[in-house]
């Protein structure tokens, strides 16, 4: 044995070993973060105890002591029930708002690429005006300067027979179900099933023969005809309650309060401008060759858009659209500024009536975070379905 072989290789000292350093750094970071959190929580406990504020969530069961406009929930109901109403009110703006903003945004986004100069410029102005104004200014403007300044009841604007507008709210036709409701709904379900089966059959025939399947108009036709027959046969179970102005009251119809109307309108307008930009960008990102190839195949303008360009653009747009849906949902919390009873407003009122602020705000925050999480999961699912499966 030689001496060189005997000499043990020099080991890296522990404090220079990258593995040790990595673990050490992470432990130190973890301790620092944990210490900060413990310190903050400890301060919270001490402060709340000093002020005699409870540190549990029992306030949820106590009577709220205030009422929610537009809801018949009693003031004596526990706070948790009122918060639930607020949560529902948030969703009542968010879901229809997302749908409306998407439709409007697609129309404006496509219009921005129109070959018609006037249409293109108008859509461009729409986008530039709306997205460069704070959503809150838009909301307050819609509420105070537009809806609240509508004429009084006696001078209501009536678009007979559908809409009545005045400073108390917007009255729209209200669908009313009465009589053989179950049978009617069952008939619609059966009609839908028949339409789906017909659609599948038409698609098979299209695959086999190549003749146009026209499954959408055929399906809609089946549903309309069958539902119409059922409607007549069952003695008109579905009617529309139309708003009627009688002197100083509006009877019938579905009333949306100005608070709801302003939040809905402002957020839809604001978000649609952003969605329009996303749609425009995504359409432009589809290679021009795609559109030209579709033209070479003999597809018309709308067909090119419907079958070739939009499906590909949608794929590019989905992640950004999901972001805008999230923004709209979060912005429903601006409703508090026009006293729309969404979750934050209810929480704020509860705090005003003696609920402890940290817990109440935490619940409001969790409510909104829950909505955010659900929405992003849904968008991710949609995104995964739309993405190309690369082989």
């Amino acid at each position: 044995m030689t001496t060189t072989a005997k000499a043990a290789p020099r080991r890296t000292p522990l404090w220079r070993d990258i593995r040790i350093i990595r673990v050490g750094l992470q432990v130190a970071f973890l301790i620092a973060v944990a210490a900060l959190l413990v310190w903050l929580f400890d301060n919270l406990t001490v402060n709340l105890r000093g002020l005699g504020i409870r540190r549990d969530f029992r306030f949820l069961d106590q009577p709220a002591g205030f009422r929610i406009p537009g809801s018949d929930i009693a003031a004596q109901s526990p706070i948790r029930d009122l918060l639930a109403v607020g949560f529902r009110n948030t969703i009542r703006v968010a879901v229809p708002g997302i749908i409306a903003a998407t439709l409007l945004g697609i129309v404006v986004g496509v219009a921005r690429l129109s070959t018609n100069w006037l249409v293109r410029r108008t859509a461009g102005m729409y986008v530039e005006v709306l997205r460069n104004v704070p959503p809150l200014v838009l909301l307050v403007f819609t509420y105070l300067a537009v809806l609240q300044r509508l004429p009084t009841v006696d001078n209501s604007i009536v678009v007979a027979p559908l809409v009545v507008l005045n400073n108390r709210g917007i009255y729209l036709p209200q669908p009313q179900l009465e009589g053989n409701v179950v049978a009617f709904l069952a008939a619609i379900a059966i009609a839908a099933a028949v339409a789906v089966v017909a659609g599948i059959a038409r698609t098979r025939r299209f695959d086999a023969t190549g003749r146009p399947h026209r499954r959408v108009p055929i399906g809609i036709g089946i549903v309309v005809v069958l539902a119409g027959v059922a409607w007549l046969a069952l003695g008109r179970p579905l009617t529309f309650g139309l708003p009627v102005l009688e002197g100083r009251v509006v009877r019938g119809g579905w009333r949306t309060t100005n608070e709801y109307g302003s939040v809905f309108v402002a957020l839809v307008l604001y978000t649609s401008a952003f969605i329009a930009e996303i749609v425009r960008g995504s359409i432009q990102a589809v290679p021009k060759g795609q559109s030209e190839a579709a033209q070479a195949l003999g597809l018309g303008g709308l067909q090119r858009l419907r079958f070739v360009v939009l499906p590909q653009a949608l794929r590019i747009a989905t992640p950004s659209m999901g972001n805008e849906f999230l923004n709209l949902t979060k912005n429903v919390s601006l409703g508090i500024f026009v006293a729309y009873p969404e979750l934050l407003r209810i929480g704020r009122q509860a705090i005003g009536n003696g609920a402890p602020a940290p817990q109440a705000l935490l619940i409001v925050l969790l409510g909104y975070l829950l909505l955010s999480v659900v929405l992003s999961v849904l968008t991710n699912l949609g995104n995964r379905r739309l993405q190309l499966v690369e082989r």
Binding site: R22, L25, Q26, F29, L30, V33, L40, N43, L44, V46, N47, L48, G50, S114, T115, N116, W117, L118, V119, T122, E128, V129, R131, N132, V133, P134, P135, L136, V137, L138, V140, F141, L144, A145, R149, G281, S282, Q284, A285, P287, G301, L326, K330, N331, S333, L334, I336, F337, L344, R348, I351, A357, P358, L361, V364, L365, Y368, L369, S372, V373
Partner: protein, 421 residues
């Protein structure tokens, strides 16, 4: 978003644009408005709508709008409840800010020109081009000047503008190698400006209001969230799972939460998180803290995008030079990452500027939207629907500011060639 056709990519845009096609008005209309039946129908439908909108808008601005409410309350809208006897402090602060920003801007432009000259792409901007770029803020300035009814603020305004232009000229002549000094000067100038207003018997920030408050929150939140955001972005890209996870939670929490709720929490709950013996921070500090925490999450995501865009080879090259990890990041990676995300950061600035309206959620904050709403309760303007005029004015201020910034960011994006290089 833009894609580059590989066959045309290497061709540099030449100075001579293709000759503009000359179309007569009729031919132009046929091509752009009536090219097909569908387009003709659209034109006929949209044109009257547009004309009606323009008519009502112009009539409102020049005929029916009762702008006396804005004229009388211009100072209220600009600075809210700020004590009028201390106005000179604001003018002094404006002068200081304009001075340092002018110097820095001039210096930055000088540096850019040297770079452009080296590349042979330098073209002196024409007067018309400069005017177009500055059109939005100049329009706003003009509108405000029209509403001013006393000579003193006008004279002071002219003085500040002249000072700014002079500083810009001087900045152009400062050697580029002194740019660190100039940048330090900006920092000191901003601090001095705040001290000039708040210290030496000055006005506490809780007595600020109006547009001043919006601008203060915008600049403050952006400036302070920038370093924090970079740190969080680096943490988000760290190879240490614990650090990465923590930064991820931070970012996702603040991006998922609505700002209004966070502001309420900052106002009502934040003081509870400090030890009882600490003095409670004033309401401005609390709101600013929340805005900084909130914004830095967004800045972190933007910077992360920039970091991801830096090719791996840059890290490896920096490593090969024997730089320490910290210097690799600071000297090689961050300069490239930050350069590419400047447009997105301007977008974030727009977003914060718009979000500053939300601080009216906090009691006692009278930023410009809050002022606009209270003006209609003044004895002279009560219950006469003046809200339309005040809100229009506020919308205009925000619109011009945001529109200008977004146009500049688009210009920067084109200049930096993001996505096309």
């Amino acid at each position: 978003m833009s894609t580059t056709d590989p066959t045309t990519a290497p061709v540099r845009p030449t100075a001579t644009a293709p000759p503009a096609s000359r179309l007569g008005p009729l031919a132009w209309a046929r091509r752009n408005l009536f090219s097909s039946v569908w387009n003709a129908v659209l034109t006929v439908l949209v044109a009257p709508l547009l004309a009606a909108t323009a008519y009502f808008l112009l009539r409102f601005v020049f005929v029916t709008g009762r702008w006396d409410v804005v004229i009388v309350n211009l100072t209220n809208l600009m600075i809210g409840v700020f004590p009028r006897s201390e106005l000179w402090r604001l003018w002094l602060a404006s002068a200081l800010l304009v001075l340092v920003v002018g110097l820095a801007l001039g210096n930055a432009v000088a540096a850019a020109r040297i770079l452009a000259t080296e590349r042979g792409t330098f073209a002196a901007p024409g007067a018309w081009q400069t005017l177009r770029r500055l059109a939005p803020p100049l329009t706003l300035l003009l509108i405000i000047v029209v509403f001013v009814r006393t000579p003193t603020p006008l004279l002071l305004l002219v003085g500040v503008i002249v000072l700014g232009l002079a500083a810009y000229r001087v900045g152009l002549r400062i050697a580029v190698r002194h740019r660190r000094v100039v940048q330090l000067g900006v920092l000191l100038g901003v601090l001095a400006a705040q001290l000039a207003v708040t210290s030496f018997g000055g006005v506490s920030r809780t007595a600020w209001g109006g547009l001043l408050l919006n601008l203060y929150f915008t600049v403050g939140a952006l400036a302070l969230s920038f370093p924090l955001g970079i740190l969080v972005a680096l943490g988000r890209r760290s190879s240490l799972p614990v650090v990465r996870g923590s930064c991820l939670v931070y970012i996702e929490f603040f991006r998922g939460a609505p700002l209004v709720i966070l502001l309420f929490a900052g106002w009502l709950v934040l003081p509870f998180f400090l030890p009882p013996q600490f003095p409670t921070p004033n309401v401005i500090t609390r709101v600013l803290t929340i805005l900084v925490l909130f914004t830095s999450a967004y800045v972190a995501e933007i910077v992360r995008g920039g970091l991801q865009g830096v090719p791996r080879g840059q890290w490896e090259a920096a490593q090969a030079l024997g730089l320490s990890p910290w210097r690799q990041t600071r000297l090689v990676i961050l300069p490239q990452a930050l350069r590419s995300v400047i447009p997105a950061l301007v977008g974030q600035a727009i977003s914060i500027f718009k979000d500053t309206t939300l601080v009216i959620a906090v009691a006692g904050m009278t930023e410009v939207l809050g002022v606009a709403q209270t003006l209609t309760q003044q004895a002279a303007f009560r219950a006469q629907g003046y809200i339309l005029e005040t809100l229009s004015f506020v919308s205009l201020i925000f619109w011009v500011g945001c529109y200008w910034m977004s146009r500049e960011s688009q210009r920067l994006e084109a200049r930096l060639g993001v996505g096309t290089r």
